[in-house]
């Protein structure tokens, strides 16, 4: 864990915290795949109370787009979910930010655990 480097790192107006990096990393694993809240909680291991503020801030920064699922709640038997997807700008900025963070890490970006997608930081 390299919290001192992560907590105060800014990239393109975005303050990168460990939760933010986890979310970006999860989204970058498949930038085209829409993700919903529970999905991202499972991928990142973050609790809902941490995840949703991060999602909101990424949206506010223009890195993330959110769309409601196009589904008939009656036919589907459940309410529509909200899906998140990195914007083009967000995907570029996220890759850059995570690469910068990885370069800043003392161990030079060695991936731990191997679960991260290519270009993901080592946490």
């Amino acid at each position: 864990m390299h919290a001192p480097y992560v907590e105060f790192r800014y990239s393109a107006g975005m303050r990168l915290t460990i939760p933010v990096a986890k979310v970006l990393s999860a989204l970058l694993a498949d930038p085209e795949a829409p993700r919903y809240g529970l999905d991202l909680m499972k991928l990142t291991g973050l609790p809902s109370g941490t995840l949703y503020p991060v999602l909101h801030r990424l949206q506010a920064a223009g890195w993330l787009a959110a769309d409601w699922e196009e589904v008939d709640p009656v036919a589907a038997g459940r309410p529509a979910r909200r899906y998140y997807r990195l914007t083009g700008e967000g995907a570029r900025a996220a890759r850059l930010a995570l690469a910068e963070l990885r370069a800043l890490a003392p161990d030079g970006g060695t991936s731990r655990g191997g679960a991260e997608p290519a270009g993901a930081p080592a946490w």
Partner: protein
Amino acid sequence: MVTRRLAGLLLRAAARRWPAELRADLVREWDAELHVLAGRGERWRMLRFAASLATSRAGAPVLDRAVPHRRLRRTAAVLLLAPPACVAVVVLAAVVMSLAYATLDFRVAWATAVQLPLWSGLTAAAGVLLALLVTRAARRTVRTGPLATALGVVLPVALTVTVVFTAFAGRGEQGLPGTVPGLLLWLALLVSALWGAGLLARRGRTRLAWAVGVLGALVAADAAVVLAVVSAIPSAPAGPVAEGLPPDTVDRVSAPLWLLTCWTDSSLGLPRPTAWERFLITDRVLVEPMFYLACTPYVVAYTVAAARPAPAAEPAPEPVPSPA
């Protein structure tokens, strides 16, 4: 079903912490996720999902998190320090009164007669000064509902009273048990009075709030004194009366005046209570009425100030699009 409802309540509580324009979408989104969890029968995860949202920081716009914490600390400081300050006020006023009495005793005949009025006057004056300070501090304390404010004001008073009277328990003839019913009645009625004052102040009816608060606090103090006296002093002689002395009884007809009697050592020109009854009353309840007097200005002032709508909106924080 209960879990779902509980989770729903937590989600709505969580949503209230977010900016108003986002709440509807957030609740819709979280409800959809809850629905999925409910469908899978994952009750514990439902609760964790909702509880985490309800207890974690809300999202942007990012506020200065230090501000609420400062307000909370200031509120705690004001509410916890004010009651001991009231005790200090009573003690300080008693010391000044004693010094004044020692000076006047050999010079004027009315030195004894002004003892209690002097103590009360000094206590009231210092209580008002304390109220001014507290009102000033209340501008930057946490604002909450009228009942919560009333309880927040009265509970530290109760704590202080408990500590002080426990420390002095057993030193008087009555001891702590004889004091407790009156104090409890005072605290209970004070909560009601402050609750009412807070409700009115919240609606912008400040003058009426002050009137209700002050009158309610006086009624509470009067009722507490009456209860303390009635429970300790009979209205008719219960045993043999010492020769040459009036019976140790107090006629209930003057009961509403007993609080003023304790403060002024006077019957206000009325036939009751008699001089002997005044002696019995002030012998039974001496310090409590002074404490009520010291507390009344600040508890009412704080309640009205804290419940009153803010005069102007606080400057909006600059939007910070980055995560905290």
